[in-house]
């Protein structure tokens, strides 16, 4: 159904603080929506997710009760030249959705994973940061450089 790719060898700890650096942050006074724009870099442990725009999506009431951690953020939705770097691997895509508590990054739209010489591309990739495994699907193409 899809190609599984190794993505990021080191152990990822989902409970580490998440640091977001950006040029600008807009918080809507009424709804509380927060949007980072301009060279946004989301960092947690080894993982770096950079993009031009990141929207913060908070947990709804039910999700808040359901989840064990009392953190308020459910997902970070990154768009406009998204780059995910975790250890030696890097992945580019149009969009990425990073669910913090489950440490899962879903990358959507011409995803390209480069590992040293090899490159794999596809439409969609789901990365589980905890195990370092990624599941690529949708017209997957792999280019292997024979080391001549």
């Amino acid at each position: 159904q899809g190609t599984s790719v190794l993505f990021g060898s080191s152990e990822h700890d989902a409970s580490l603080p998440v640091e977001v650096v950006a040029d600008l942050l807009e918080v809507d006074q009424t709804t509380g929506d927060a949007t980072f724009t301009g060279n946004v870099v989301v960092g947690q442990g080894e993982m770096r997710l950079s993009a031009e725009k990141v929207i913060v999506e908070y947990k709804t009431e039910e999700e808040q009760q359901a989840s064990d951690s009392s953190g308020k953020i459910n997902r970070l939705i990154a768009s406009e030249n998204v780059l995910l770097v975790n250890g030696p691997e890097a992945a580019e895509a149009d969009f990425a959705e990073y669910t913090i508590d489950s440490a899962e990054v879903i990358m959507i739209g011409n995803v390209i994973v480069t590992q040293g010489e090899n490159a794999t591309s596809g439409n969609r990739m789901v990365v589980d940061l905890n195990t370092g495994r990624a599941q690529m699907s949708g017209r997957v193409k792999t280019i292997l450089q024979p080391d001549n």
Binding site: S15, P17, L24, E26, V27, D28, Q29
Partner: protein, 200 residues
């Protein structure tokens, strides 16, 4: 027999002399034991410069209320307010200023500032001395100085800002709260840094 029937009158004769002497003795101790009275400290005076109070017009716990162009209600209260004589009282110096801005859709922004200078011509308030802004989203923003406009609900800082709220704790070079695109936006700029702790 005569001897013992006038013991009572002898007792009275002795008492007539002894009791007044005793009374005199007690009376004299009043002045011996009493604390020395210092006339200068008799009435505690208030250490207030009376001339200054008389010369300067000033208000205690003044209140200013107004509606901004975009329909937000602003209420400003302070402990004291003194018009600035030098500049033809265009400026009003206030201490311990509290401003409450009720935004259109029920949200509220509270601002606390030790020192505030209200400029009635430009209708701006320049707040200094460590200003704290709180909004109903649960954000608390701290900065050294803030400028609040009294005509529209705009608050802007020029000095670095630290804040904490639902997003975690945050630092930025500048903050501006304003009415943009039909929404009140709290905008942080100049290398914004947010640290969010998933464990909450």
């Amino acid at each position: 027999m005569a001897l013992n029937d006038n013991t009572y009158s002898r007792f009275v004769a002795v008492a007539k002399v002894a009791l007044p002497l005793f009374a005199l003795g007690v009376l004299s101790t009043v002045f011996l034991v009493a604390k020395p009275i210092d006339p200068s400290k008799a009435i505690p005076y208030a250490e207030v410069d009376v001339e200054e109070l008389a010369r300067e017009k000033g208000m205690t716990s003044p209140e200013y209320a107004g509606i901004t162009r975009d329909g937000a209600a602003i209420i400003v209260t302070a402990d004291t307010a003194k018009p600035d004589q030098a500049r033809g009282n265009k400026l009003v110096h206030t201490e311990q200023l509290y401003a409450t801005i009720d935004l259109k859709d029920g949200d509220q922004v509270n601002i606390e500032s030790p020192i505030g200078v209200l400029n009635s011509v430009k209708e701006k308030a320049n707040l200094t001395g460590g200003v704290i802004l709180r909004n109903s989203q649960g954000y608390t923003v701290r900065s050294q100085m803030m400028d609040a406009s009294l005509t529209d609900a705009t608050v802007e800082t020029q000095t670095p800002v630290t804040a904490d709220g639902p997003l975690g704790n945050l630092s930025a070079g500048k903050m501006k709260l304003s009415f943009v695109k039909e929404k009140y936006l709290l905008v942080f700029q100049n290398d914004v840094k947010v640290i969010y702790d998933p464990k909450g």
